[in-house]
């Protein structure tokens, strides 16, 4: 346990030092890694811990992004205030979507969420919403500068802001998952009937997990909109949802630190693949993915766990 604390402290120091060591463009990419890490953590609660598959988390990411963009663009709400609002909106949306959808199990739920992911970008173009969403043209937002005259540029400031949000979200997740609720979630995944017999309210826990998972994703979406400075329906296609799912599997299912590894994967591996082959980047990406699944069936987090076990012996 003590060694783990030291490792965490080192990680945090590295994370704080990085933006001063690399170019602004890299800082932007690292900010996206943090944002994806929040999203993947949320999805991992749902899929990894609770055993429900979602192919539509891109929709919640989009709702979070649009919430932040509309609040900033139409109402002049400060960017930091949009984060909790986006989280609350997605918590409600996720919980409400979860109630009926959770009567569906496994693959059927996957399809229902897939439908959500496919439908949402088109709804954003709907003409009665256009006044708010900007239709196909989307919404351009302004990147915030560092407050109180802190000597950081906009990219660095947003990185630290995202880092702070990430740390808070991870602490919350650790407390949630390591406690009573987390155990109930895992019990439902492993054996829903047994969990019910032990007094766990299965439907309630499933809906709540869905809501919390959507909340994490929405917070990520809001931060993503601010980092990219633009939202449009084309930004949230189905592929985004699938990329999230890829992220949690590669990072490691039912693992908190796996979210960070997964985020690094979905941010950097497509670019790496594009650099290796311009002609067939997705074929290279596929090879990476297959290699990962064969060599690291437990994801990157699983590998680290195995290594640690060997050293401890």
């Amino acid at each position: 346990m003590r060694r783990k604390n030291i490792a965490l402290a080192v990680l945090l120091v590295v994370a704080c030092a990085l933006p001063f060591l690399v170019s602004n463009f890299r800082v932007f990419q690292l900010t996206m890694v943090l944002i994806y890490a929040i999203v993947l953590l949320g999805l991992n609660m749902l899929t990894g811990y609770n055993g429900q598959i979602s192919l539509g988390h891109g929709a919640f990411y989009a709702i979070g992004a649009y919430t932040a963009a509309i609040l900033m663009d139409r109402f002049g709400v400060p960017y930091w205030l949009t984060i909790p609002v986006a989280g609350a909106v997605c918590l409600a949306a996720g919980f409400l979507f979860g109630l009926p959808a959770l009567r569906l199990e496994g693959l059927y739920l996957a399809l229902a969420t897939f439908a959500l992911g496919v439908a949402l970008p088109q709804l954003m173009k709907y003409k009665h919403l256009e006044h708010w969403t900007g239709g196909v043209q989307g919404i351009v937002i302004v990147k915030p500068d560092a407050p109180f005259g802190i000597p950081l540029n906009a990219d660095q400031w947003l990185y630290f802001f995202s880092l702070a949000v990430t740390v808070v979200m991870f602490i919350l997740a650790v407390n949630l998952l390591r406690g009573r609720i987390g155990r109930a979630m895992v019990a439902i995944r492993d054996h829903p009937i047994a969990a019910g017999a032990m007094g766990v309210n299965v439907a309630m826990y499933k809906s709540l997990t869905f809501g919390v998972s959507a909340m994490y994703t929405g917070i990520g979406g809001a931060l993503g909109a601010i980092a990219v400075q633009f939202v449009a329906p084309d930004s949230f296609n189905v592929f985004l949802s699938i990329a999230f799912l890829v992220g949690i599997v590669v990072g490691g299912l039912a693992s908190i630190e796996g979210a960070i590894f997964g985020a690094i994967f979905i941010q950097f591996v497509p670019n790496l693949a594009d650099q290796i082959s311009k002609a067939a980047p997705w074929a290279i990406y596929g090879i990476f993915l297959i290699a990962f699944m064969y060599l690291l069936p437990g994801g990157i987090a699983g590998l680290i766990k195995a290594l640690r076990r060997r050293y401890d012996r």
């Binding site: 351009v140 302004v142 990219v228 084309d234 930004s235 592929f239 311009k278």
Partner: protein, 401 residues
């Protein structure tokens, strides 16, 4: 005395050496050097709009041809064209990489209205030229607010004004009915039409009907437009609805002078499903020559294009209008870079882009000239009208402004 004598020729030689240098001093911003001009581009090589990817490929092939011929003022063009999958966040990431890490001199023809909206502000804040944007929105020609952005496509408003001009010239006593798609594009084109008609618009346009992209048909709109007694019909619709409208107009026995907007001019995907015999007499605009049009078979510009495609881009489909599009945009860029001479700063690139005078591209329709000024960033202000003869589009008349 002796000292000044010895130094005089040296000073003279020095003055000679410096004088021309002072005139044609080489000036560079990031991305330009004595040997190379580095250019960035985002293109949808994957994703839903990957059919447009050929634009990036044909442009790279054209720059290869220019480099093989010695480059521009001795400098080779290096086009860094990267995939953004038609996803705006990816466009932002890739554009930042190209500007901040690869240090390109400017961005050339990034494709897509949403993708370009996402990088519009960024490039203007960074003062990096955002040149020949591959999108038809009117907002790319706004030098007052966005002095670093210049579009390529003729804007929808320009197109609307051209129809208005032709109507005023040939059917000035006519009554006009308009069908339009209820979004930015449809309203933009309609605005151009009304601006072009000027104070006659209110009197001449006797009926307007709009449709939503989600509507199943436009039958009821056509019937009510016919009922207005109009004898001119302006069809501002995307391919599926344009085809439905063309067929319905014919089937209800209405025979107006029928203007069809440029986005729906495809014979294969619009006129054939509508019925070729029902499409005879349709009028639309064009600014580039069509490689499948028999009347250009012996055109020198077209012959050069075909020879280029054979040698440098044999996999490309010569009949694909995206290839003539990319080829022409690349040629316009080469002209801008030639004008820059040895002053390859971002500011001068923008100044030369805004200083194109009567540029007739080899594949431009006759009389369709490119003219830009520091206060006018609209590349194409004129287009040629063309009429459908039952088999193909045939250009007629001079370019209309």
């Amino acid at each position: 005395m002796t000292a000044s004598k010895t130094w005089a020729p040296v000073a003279f030689a020095f003055a000679l050496a410096v004088a021309p240098g002072a005139f044609a001093q080489k000036k560079y911003d990031p991305g330009a050097s004595d040997t190379e001009i580095r250019i960035g581009q985002t293109m949808p090589y994957s994703g839903p709009a990957s059919a447009y990817g050929t634009i990036g490929r044909v442009e790279a092939a054209y720059f290869q041809k220019i480099n093989d011929e010695g480059g521009i003022n001795g400098r080779k063009i290096k086009l860094l064209s990267v995939d953004d999958g038609y996803s705006p966040p990816k466009t932002v990431e890739m554009t930042r990489k190209l500007v901040e890490q690869d240090e390109v001199l400017f961005m050339f023809q990034p494709l897509g209205t949403a993708a370009n909206s996402a990088i519009h502000k960024y490039l203007n804040t960074k003062k990096v030229p955002h040149l020949l944007v591959a999108s038809g929105a009117t907002k790319w020609a706004d030098p007052r607010n966005f002095p670093w952005t210049m579009g390529w496509n003729p804007s929808y408003q320009t197109e609307g004004r051209i129809y208005a001009k032709d109507i005023l010239a040939n059917h000035s006593s006519g009554k006009i009915a308009v069908l339009y798609q209820n979004d930015d594009y449809g309203k933009d084109l309609l605005k151009g039409l009304k601006d072009g008609l000027g104070d006659k618009a209110a009197k001449m346009i006797v009926a307007e009907a709009s449709y939503e992209v989600s509507d199943p048909t436009v039958d009821s709109q056509i019937v009510s437009l016919k009922g207005s007694g109009a004898d001119i019909f302006v069809n501002i619709a995307t391919p599926k609805f344009a085809a439905l409208a063309i067929r319905k107009v014919y089937d209800v026995g209405w025979r107006p002078v029928h203007y069809l907007n440029n986005v729906s001019l495809s014979v294969g995907s619009v006129l054939t499903p509508a019925g070729l015999e029902k499409s005879v007499g349709l009028i639309t605009t064009a600014y580039l020559k069509d490689a499948t049009d028999a009347q250009y078979a012996n055109d020198p510009g077209m012959k050069d294009y075909l020879a280029f495609m054979k040698k440098y881009y044999p996999d490309g489909n010569i009949a694909d209008s995206s290839n003539t599009y990319g080829y022409s945009a690349a040629q316009a860029l080469v002209q801008i870079l030639k004008q820059c001479g040895d002053n390859l700063t971002r500011e001068n690139v923008m100044r030369q882009a805004a200083n194109l005078k009567n540029l007739q591209l080899p594949l431009g329709r006759p009389g369709v000239l490119i003219n830009t000024t520091p206060t006018d960033f609209q590349m194409f202000k004129s287009m040629q009208l063309q009429r459908f003869d039952g088999k193909q589009w045939v250009g007629f008349g001079d370019a209309v402004q």
